[in-house]
């Protein structure tokens, strides 16, 4: 219990990391809800990997042009963010364009994206004459490296993401649920799809540079899957997904700190455990209802 009280104290050494991970845990599922509802879950794996390739590419180009960057400086994070965002958004636009042509299956496109992104990440890293070892931390993502300044930046951008998702909730729902009806109503579907992709790109880039591809994928996908089991309204679904994500981030942080475990993987493992518990409880409840009805 004393550990629990300790991490809640204002002077806790890793306070910025704790707040940062909870913010990412709260916001990623709001965006991830659209991945789940539009049946794009595997994009949640491929895009963070593409984002990692973008980070490696940005450092490679910087190194070849200007020489070695200063490790740990704000510029390093900004460089990572630019590379990550450019690759993620570029990937989303390319995948959306291919989807319109509809010649290949979506699984094939996503699998191809993942394979290319993983290969490119390794190739860019291997070609970088400076600091392959230093880069690994950035590519893995590390909440513990969160500073007060980077936390402010992440919080502000993710707050903007939440505002956009709330403000345009009805348009994003309409184009996701019934694209044809949106067209019949004269809505500019490509504008709303583009806005959603932009929001996805920003969130994934921030998630990956702050927490790494695996944690970003975990928070994008697992909490919405949990929320889908216990909600039947769109708004409560999004809010529950966000709450499950925030709770998993906090509980995972507590457990990692308590047992000296790696932070990101502990948070993802906790989110999956929560999904398993909720899924089991839902199954048992349905069985009990069937039994009592029989």
């Amino acid at each position: 219990m004393s550990t629990f009280v300790q991490i809640l104290r204002p002077d806790f050494l890793l306070r910025d990391a704790l707040i940062g991970s909870v913010v990412v845990g709260l916001v990623c599922p709001l965006v991830g809800a659209y991945f789940v509802l539009r049946r794009m879950i595997f994009l949640g794996v491929a895009l963070p990997q593409l984002s990692a390739a973008g980070i490696a590419f940005a450092f490679l180009v910087y190194g070849m042009t200007f020489g070695q960057h200063e490790h740990g400086a704000m510029g390093e994070r900004a460089l990572a963010m630019i590379g990550s965002f450019a690759f993620t958004l570029g990937g989303l636009i390319a995948l959306a364009a291919l989807e319109r042509r509809g010649r290949e299956t979506i699984d094939g496109r996503i699998g191809l994206t993942y394979a290319i992104a993983t290969a490119l990440t390794i190739l860019f890293l291997a070609s970088d004459p400076y600091g392959e070892a230093q880069m690994v931390n950035l590519l893995k993502g590390d909440f513990l490296a969160t500073t007060a300044t980077s936390l402010r930046g992440v919080a502000m951008v993710l707050a903007a993401v939440v505002v956009v998702l709330l403000a345009f909730r009805k348009e994003l729902l309409l184009v996701s649920f019934d694209r044809e009806l949106a067209l019949v109503f004269g809505k500019r579907v490509w504008v709303w799809d583009g806005l959603l992709y932009l929001v996805m790109g920003v969130t994934i880039s921030l998630g990956v540079t702050t927490a790494g591809p695996i944690v970003a994928f975990g928070f994008l996908v697992v909490p919405p899957l949990t929320a889908r089991l216990v909600t039947r309204h769109m708004l409560t679904f999004s809010l529950a997904a966000s709450a499950f994500g925030g709770f998993s981030a906090f509980a995972g942080f507590y457990l990692a700190y308590l047992a000296d475990l790696p932070l990101g993987p502990t948070q993802v493992a906790f989110a999956v455990l929560l999904l398993a518990v909720v899924a089991s409880a839902t199954t048992l409840r349905r069985a009990a209802l069937r039994w009592s009805a029989a």
Binding site: A167, F168, E180, H233, T236, F237
Partner: protein
């Protein structure tokens, strides 16, 4: 003669530049109850998509008598095209119809909820408004989608096989709702169906879609026993 709400002038419709339907020329008048009939794969849905503006004509032009922004059409798709993964209640689905007249940043308010509630009442589903959409029967889902179309407050209602895959009782209830809307509110109805028996007593005119083109005429002519026998052979209809 009332004003045409829709006019096609020598229109061709198709995919990837290849026409499926050609030389389409007809008008639809305000308040008309019209069925698009024809064999499976004949191009009924292609014609409906063209009328809805979901595909541009390859040649010719389609004129709409109503400003689609000010008076959006009511559209009822086939229910199987919607994904059951979305956590939505019947009333949330109906509420989407009101989005037609709501611009960005304009939230759904009391007035939209009232319109949606009235639309649900019109199709006789008030008692299940809060039920999950996906838990409803096929016929109920179809009526929810009709209510969603009505929530757009349309003057034209376009329906794509609204009675496909539902039991005869539910199909009769759906057709009664559609017929009442046309009768009591003078709503123009364009209905894609392949169920001649259901359509014949209700619709005033028919567009027969077959052999890469479409012909329009009054129900009595287009669905006369002689014509049905000619198309399908004796004993059908």
């Amino acid at each position: 003669m009332s004003k045409p709400i829709l006019a096609l002038h020598d229109v061709s419709l198709g995919y990837d530049g290849r026409p499926v339907l050609q030389h389409l020329t007809f008008e639809v008048e305000e308040g008309e109850f019209l069925a698009l009939l024809g064999p499976n794969g004949g191009g009924k849905s292609t014609l409906l998509r063209g009328i809805l503006g979901l595909m541009a004509p390859l040649t010719g032009r389609i004129e709409h008598g109503l400003d689609r922004k000010a008076s959006p059409p009511g559209y009822v798709p086939q229910r199987d095209t919607l994904d059951p993964i979305f956590p939505l209640t019947a009333s949330e689905v109906v509420l989407m119809g009101t989005y037609a007249r709501l611009g960005p940043l304009r939230p759904v308010g009391r007035s939209q909820r009232r319109i949606a509630a009235t639309a649900i009442e019109q199709v006789g589903l008030t008692s299940i408004a809060d039920a999950p959409f996906w838990a409803l029967s096929g016929g109920q889902k179809q009526r929810v989608l009709i209510a969603r179309a009505l929530a757009a407050e349309p003057r034209v209602l376009l329906l794509d096989e609204p009675t496909a895959g539902v039991d005869p009782g539910a199909a009769a209830a759906i057709m009664e709702v559609i017929s009442r809307l046309n009768r009591e509110q003078a709503m123009t109805v364009i209905l894609v169906t392949h169920q001649l028996r259901q359509a014949r007593p209700l619709v005033r005119s028919v567009i027969w879609v077959e052999d890469g083109t479409a012909r329009k005429g009054p129900t009595a002519t287009m669905l006369s026993p002689e014509r049905i026998a000619e198309v399908f052979g004796a004993g059908v209809g």
